[in-house]
């Protein structure tokens, strides 16, 4: 949203709209990093309290990178990372027949993928999942992480490469 015409974060409406747009992404972002739901929830709270305290100083255009920065800085003194658990969306009843072998194979693949994701360096995992699960563009992730788009491409490339190597066992 360009919205130069809605001009103040201290306006509850503006503030609420920033919250509804970015809170879930921040939650996911921190979760992909550390695998801790509680910490991710707290990061959202901290980031938006800080935004409120500084609402007169932060323009709506800057609010997004402001909340990401606060959430990011919160756990700079690295907390112990836990296992990142990701669910698979429930699919509707499948119309195709799936053989037990196929289902078992799927199961095994998912397990391997899970472990491989876990083993990725934190910055690669976070970047990869923000793109794959949240559909974030490389440019947006670059903004969140405070690095160049090129660096994000590199992380995406390496992440996918490493995942494949882990899964294929090479």
């Amino acid at each position: 949203m360009k919205a130069d015409n809605i001009n103040n974060v201290c306006e509850e409406e503006v503030y609420a709209s920033i919250f509804s747009t970015h809170s879930k992404t921040i939650f996911n972002y921190i979760y992909y990093k550390f695998g801790n739901e509680e910490k991710a929830y707290d990061a959202v709270q901290e980031a938006f309290i800080k935004l409120w305290e500084n609402c007169a100083k932060v323009s709506p255009q800057k609010a997004k990178s402001f909340v990401y920065t606060v959430a990011n800085n919160l756990y700079l003194n690295v907390i112990k990372a836990e296992k990142v658990r990701l669910k698979y969306k429930e699919k509707g009843p499948s119309t195709e027949y799936e053989s037990p072998e196929f289902i078992l194979e799927q199961q095994e693949f998912k397990e391997k993928l899970d472990n491989a994701l876990q083993a990725l360096p934190e910055n690669q995992r976070t970047t990869f999942l923000l793109n794959r699960i949240d559909g974030k563009k490389y440019a947006e992730i670059a903004e969140m992480e405070g690095v160049s788009v090129k660096a994000i491409e590199k992380r995406m490339h390496l992440a996918l490469k490493t995942l494949r190597e882990q899964i294929d066992g090479i």
């Binding site: 698979y88 559909g135 494949r164």
Partner: protein, 304 residues
């Protein structure tokens, strides 16, 4: 292969030739599997309503007076900002001398305060114009697109569209007027809609919709405000064509379709903030598939 070609592949940036080459490698099958599997993954649930509630609670206890003391100043700031914008526009376009024009581009919204302190929130791809100096004499707003009006107590004005005229008295209502589509929803008080020489009164909780000249009225499900203010576009038995047009406005994308019946009725809603989620919410119920490339979306149906 190009540097970071896996990242480029995911982003549809590889040339056809490169894609063919990549697909021929023995690693491709696993890459494809990984990408497909991650597409159906989800992060843990995040209760956004609870988070907002907790946050509001903390905001109020941490610094009680702050909100109130700054409020009037903020109001002033916002009005000043809107005026500045309007001046900018009339400077460039130099339209009919007195007219105030506020318009939004695709993927943009705006808030406007009228001379009588009524508030107007403009949805994407919309425009309002009115006479500011002669407001007392001519309380008329011309609307193209969609807007939500919060009318100040005791004030009255007309909203004119090319489909019909809406008259109000101290109320909250939403008007949407797009090509061949006209919808008025009343959330508070009473509005009167003049459509084809007939006056129709809409009390709170009622809505009226005209699609291709066909008029229907219906009850709004327990809402206090239109869903687009909560970052969601909702539809009830609306031809798919209009749903896709709204998608274009909300995300500034170009929609194309192939083998799709654009007149099939759609009931449901889509997110205004998460493009992939929105595409999914539209395509899944209608059994369509889609591909997103840059800012172009193609919806198609595989079964002939």
């Amino acid at each position: 292969m190009e540097e970071n070609y896996l990242a480029k592949w995911l982003n549809n940036e590889l040339s056809e030739e490169e894609v063919t080459k990549f697909k021929a490698t023995k690693e491709y099958a696993t890459y494809k599997k990984i990408v497909d599997a991650t597409a159906s993954m989800e992060a843990p649930e995040f209760d956004i309503a609870k988070a907002k509630h907790d946050l509001d609670h903390r905001k109020n206890s941490d610094q009680g007076g702050k909100v109130v003391t700054l409020d009037s100043f903020k109001k002033y700031l916002r009005i000043a900002a809107v005026i500045a914008l309007v001046v900018g526009i009339s400077y460039f376009y130099n339209t009919a001398s007195m007219d105030q024009v506020v318009s939004t581009q695709y993927a943009e919204r705006a808030a406007v305060t009228l001379p009588d302190n009524s508030e107007v929130l403009l949805n994407a791809g919309s425009k309002i114009s009115y006479q500011k100096k002669k407001w007392e004499k001519n309380r008329n707003i011309v609307l193209e697109g969609e807007a939500f009006f919060k009318v100040a107590k005791g004030e009255t004005f007309r909203v004119t569209t090319n489909m019909g005229v809406v008259r109000v008295l101290g109320t909250q209502f939403n008007v949407e007027n797009r090509e061949d589509f006209f919808e008025v929803s009343c959330y508070e008080g009473l509005v009167s809609v003049r459509y084809k020489e007939k006056d129709i009164e809409l009390p709170a909780g009622q809505a009226l919709m005209v699609i291709n000249g066909q008029l229907t009225t219906y009850t709004i499900a327990e809402a206090q405000q239109p869903s687009w203010l909560l970052q969601e576009s909702s539809f009830k038995s609306v031809p798919l064509k209009f749903v896709l047009q709204e998608l274009e406005r909300q995300f500034d994308v170009e929609v194309e379709t192939k083998n799709i019946d654009l007149n099939q009725l759609f009931t449901g809603s889509f997110s205004n903030t998460d493009k992939n989620l929105a595409l999914h919410s539209i395509s899944a119920p209608s059994g369509m598939k889609y591909v997103l490339e840059g800012n172009k979306v193609l919806f198609y149906d595989e079964t002939p």
